[in-house]
Symmetry: D2
Subunit: 445 residues, 4 copies
């Protein structure tokens, strides 16, 4: 999970990229960066941390120009992680280039091995470096556009890409369209391409349309041109709706909040339960819980409070303070919960440990029954298309039945939304989406 943004033909390009990254901070808190293009020379600032921590007013003196690309990174920090921040910049045969990438390549290792065999050097662990090598080594093709097309045809997997050269910008989405990428028109002039439309609202942009699976949009001479460079076989990531995207974003043509609420409705239809109250695990379960409540008629309550001051603390807990990590973040409204039968709505279960802590916390707070309802199917497999899921072994649903999970998390009942329920909530064709982490049916490997 990452976010990308490109700003084209706007004199405040890098600042608008900054605000866009701020709006998409939920898609990656490890690192961030912006490249801007001033008179054909590309400058890059990137570092570890949140966008508001990294960027200072003086950086925008360096990041001048009317084109910019930006990136936020979500990642397991390795020792070399500063080197793994994006944009990836390089000088190559046709000049200078800066690339941002959201997604994951399934044939990165093969390409890397092949490129290394042919003399390439790799200075990071990022798939994106492959792409620059493929572009740089393709001398036969005289234009960057041709080289990009050749390059992306060699890579396989998930890629929502923005590529900036000295004069142009390219936005590309893989033929499956795993990750979102939307196009907007800036009220102050020029265009924006971003992973999520929530960035548009903040920078004052109007949504034009999504970049299509398999499409390349070229920004050149102040204009945009579109070209289908792949035959699309749309398989959009359903987890964007379930968890990743911000509720106020429109993703794959639908508003995320609306879809999540429908998922709650479907959950209520599929898996009714007698209860006094529907409560969400905040914040990601709120919309589905509202839908569940509306459909079931069981009243909705914000029965669990989320503490937004969390941040990091390195104070070791005392023995008295059990389950501290969850309790520092979430706390029950005891007066509402005591003696009540609760339907608790969460977006998904990964390892099961957090769910168990939540159930325990609610029981300790006096809940009579806790019925856990998950607004997505059971996650049984990892994602190879850009989501940082744990290994199959760590996923509780890959090694336990629903009933066993119910016992493990100490809930009175547990149920997941079906894949068909998800499809009904999205109100789109099932074949347009990737459910691989739920049904082991990977579109490309």
């Amino acid at each position: 999970m990452c976010s990308v943004v490109g700003i084209y033909n706007n004199q405040n390009a890098s600042k608008l990229a900054f605000y866009s990254l701020f709006a998409m901070q939920h898609r990656g808190q490890e690192a961030a960066g912006i490249s801007a293009n001033y008179n054909g020379k590309i400058h890059t600032i990137k570092d570890r941390g949140l966008v508001t921590q990294i960027f200072k007013e003086e950086h925008f003196e360096i990041l001048k120009g009317n084109m910019a690309v930006g990136h936020t990174r979500y990642s397991t920090a390795g020792d070399d992680s500063i080197l793994d921040a994006q944009p990836v910049f390089a000088k190559y045969g046709l000049g200078e280039i800066s690339i941002v990438h959201n997604g994951n390549l399934v044939n990165a290792k093969e390409i890397r091995d092949e490129l290394i065999k042919r003399g390439a050097i790799f200075q990071s662990n990022m798939d994106t470096e492959n792409l620059i090598h493929l572009i740089a080594k393709n001398y036969e093709k005289p234009t960057l556009k041709e080289r990009i097309i050749d390059a992306v045809k060699k890579i396989k997997g998930a890629f929502s890409l923005i590529i900036m050269s000295r004069t142009k910008m390219f936005a590309i989405r893989d033929p499956f369209g795993f990750r979102p990428l939307s196009l907007g028109k800036l009220k102050s002039g020029g265009y924006i391409v971003a992973s999520e439309t929530c960035a548009f609202e903040l920078v004052g942009a109007e949504f034009i349309r999504d970049i299509k699976p398999g499409e390349m949009v070229v920004f050149e001479n102040g204009e945009i041109k579109s070209e289908m460079i792949f035959e699309p076989t749309t398989k959009q990531c359903v987890f964007e709706y379930i968890y990743f995207a911000r509720p106020d974003s429109n993703v794959f043509g639908k508003n995320v909040y609306v879809v999540r609420k429908e998922m709650g409705r479907e959950l209520a239809k599929e898996l009714p339960v007698k209860a006094d109250m529907v409560i969400p695990v905040p914040d990601s379960g709120v919309a589905a819980a509202l839908g569940y409540s509306e459909e079931s008629g069981i009243p909705f309550e914000m029965g669990i409070m989320r503490n937004h001051y969390v941040g990091r603390t390195f104070i070791e807990p005392t023995q008295e303070v059990r389950d501290l990590k969850v309790k520092m973040k979430l706390s029950p409204i005891m007066d509402k919960i005591k003696g009540k039968r609760l339907v608790v709505i969460d977006d998904s279960i990964v390892r099961g440990t957090t769910s168990r802590r939540i159930v325990r916390m609610l029981k300790e707070a006096g809940a009579k029954e806790v019925h856990m309802r998950i607004a997505s199917p059971a996650t049984i497999g990892p994602c190879y298309y850009g989501v940082d899921t744990p290994t199959k072994e760590e996923l509780i649903a890959s090694r336990m039945s629903v009933d066993e999970i119910k016992d493990y998390i100490e809930a009175d009942s547990l149920a997941y939304l079906s894949i068909d329920g998800v499809v009904r909530a999205i109100k789109d064709k099932k074949e347009n989406f990737c459910f691989a982490c739920f049904d082991d049916n990977y579109p490309i490997l």
Copy 2:
């Protein structure tokens, strides 16, 4: 607005104080501190910043002992602000003492002038320093307890106090009981006194009861003794329910979330409006909006999203990014709002500028009508009992009629909950509460 905590007779006293302050961080982010008592010697760590920023593991090597008091401070930072952090520690005639105070004294200046005339020196701007002087100068009384009683009888205003000596702890609430103060029993041994019960949940404590207005609880020899040192004339701060306290806290005998939801119900009863949707200004308007929705039958939606990554940024906005401060924090779910008549629920209106930005944002997002409903009466006067309200002039309701405010914030309609509505929501006697900021009826001046 501040928070106080005292931990008595627990070997992890200072750590439990730390976690309690963490839970009460919403009551003050400027500064924090903890004093602990080890073998009759008091050590204090205090600084500017959030509790998680100030305290490091090694500090708890210094803050040893089985008694501790802590404080978080909400304040307009002056140049000397580090000196104005609490606890206030002093050596005096009977040994060492450390005090934490939530509230505000109305006769602080008179006492200070009188004390200075008698030769006292004041090294901070804190009212709390008065108290230590009064205790220290009272040589005739041989015991600290007697001196404390004499001292608090001289001060007037709001005070929820915790005082730690080398062997005892004292918890006192002023006769009006303006600020909350609750007593709990720690599962790991000993007692806790804290401004809000949300601290109890985190440290593993059971609520015993509120310290009563006018009461002093003495912790000594492992036990607690109570004494009424004032004739109570209860006037508890209604704003604790409206805005300050955390929804999961029980304050003045009621759960805050429950009261807020009832305020929403009363608002719907008093001031109905035809609309398609009830939406809260997050997070403080959520409970009232749920109550409004339940009572009115108008569907509840989380139509505005709050971005929790905000933090501080010093990047100057470009002209394109209007109303940036509000937009970086709040964003509308456009698909839900477009073409809809909205009832927007907020807890209160102070200067009116934020409300105006919210209304504009919703209109820009396509709302057909915006009916602002405030879950409290119009704030017409400042608070002298510990709330950091702006001056009378800055309060929009002190110089505009409701109709004028409606025009100023560009809403289609505006209405406030009545004082009686607040009373009905609390389900307690009106005379037990202070409504001074709404009705200019100050209990003590």
Copy 3:
């Protein structure tokens, strides 16, 4: 060891105080602070750290006005150390006051106990707080000047004080004149009082004269008036010459570098040795080594280099890296040292461990003989007048003979300068100086 500065009647008072503290940073790196006086209101900024770390340009917006006092603190950090930074500010019966103090009171505890008995409270561990209490409580005297005189007559010990009220400044030196305090005229207008004259050079001031032992200088209405408030019994600290003061300062009427060089000369006269080379322990031994070389005719070499990048590192040393702390700071010029008989000049020996490491390092580097010569007498007792010496037990010379110390530090010979040698170097009367740490003859206890 601390430094104090006062700036009177200059529109850049606080900035000149800042630069003065910067020049006197060697007299205290723990904490620093400045109070400035703007329209009769005193503002204070103080914190832990170096002056360049503490003060930011924006602080000087707060520290406006044409009077300022400043302080740098050298101290063993306690847990409450932020509270122990100076200036000490207080509001009291005659208004506002801010005090800076270099020295140490020998009757601080008695005064404190007496004051506490009379109802005073102490919020820090600083002797300076005593003084403010004495001033504040002296109601019978209507003017600050009278009160200051009464107060300083009650305190005993070392005090070079600067006191700032809303309209005046007072500079006072105790009757023994233990610590230096000099008066200068600022070229840009007004006066400066500072612990060391090295501050004068940086801020553009001309040295007028030292404040005399027992003198009080009053700055009022743009002028200075002097008054002897004590019968002086001059006992100036000889260690200022030996170690504390900067070589470019003039202290007690003599230039420090010149005196140190003379000490080296005397050392050569008293304790000649056959050797190939004189080398100093940098930086404090340089001047004495030059004098020794000139007197003895043995060539001077900078045979030990000092690494000025030291700073703090928390990397644990490996076993291979022995004596790391000394080696990171000092390293021998091996080509010069190998096979040579060295006279090594240091200012003093405290615990003996550093001397031993230096001797070992030089022997490992191939020195044939190492003759340690100390440009001061053997330190046998602690200082009670403002120098932070270790306890008597820790002082190697309090429990070992010179011969035993020689063996301990593994030198081929060891000799100390005599007290009379010090006196000859200073070229002043012996009775004007305190040698208590060398001869156990404490002027006041």
Copy 4:
């Protein structure tokens, strides 16, 4: 100016690299980094700042293994400077590699252009990237050693290189030997290669010999093998003696302090002047001033003190504080200087502004005459071999005669040491050294 270090076959390899970099911190304060090799996997930590700021104890958990290379960087910070820190790490056809480089390539652009033409991408501005590409692309040669030899034969300029693969280490010096590189034996086992021998003392290593110009030393299977890969045409950088290297280092076979002192002697012989006192500009002029004094018989004095607390301050100076930057760093011992004729010894003059400030400061302090003597020839041209000199235009001696410079810096006389004087001081053959910045005679361009 940079420093490099390699540690081979020692279990604390990365810690010893850290201490070595600490000792060589004077050769670069902008950035630093270490790569270590654990079980054939190379990990790298690098960042901006001083080595003590960058490295934390926990980093050495990552930097495990018994081989390590390290680098400190001196550089004009560009916007991308974090990317320009070394070591440069890459994965390539034969595995993993990490390189550190001290020097500068004169044909870097040509090689880069050629490599780019052949499809290479460059992600930094460092010459070092060239080398990795040359190695990576040389598929015909099956071993790293052969590839390294081929690669370094293509590059021209100054390079003291250390290259670490998964199993070996290579240390190479260009045929001119512009930059130093010395080999030592660690007492705790294994070998060290470092830019300066001052690192050896700190980590406990014995100097074996210098790596020869044109030599490659291979560390493999616990042993070292040497090979001459270039015909040497030795042209060692004379500025290493004049300014760069630490006095306690032995460089190009001579001790730096000894050579500097000899330069002072030669200066006295060549350019005698009648004066009362020889004083150095600290710290770099000290050794030469001692030599000048010994030769001339004019007494040496530390007449200017250097303040080592400088650090950075962002407080804007007031008008009163003229020449603040120099005065905060240097201050005169006025008592010594007043009325005296001074010979002031500095290592070199670059722009002339600092010299002018020093002369003025000494005159203001009362010096009767100031005779500036420079212990090197006049710098008339930039260095292309790794020294960060200003442009020709900025070098005062490139556009003014000695007499004009004398007038500009307001000295009573000015003289530079001749090139022959430098040679006599080094006591080596003239043709073995590069004097290009003094005589415009560049060995390679």
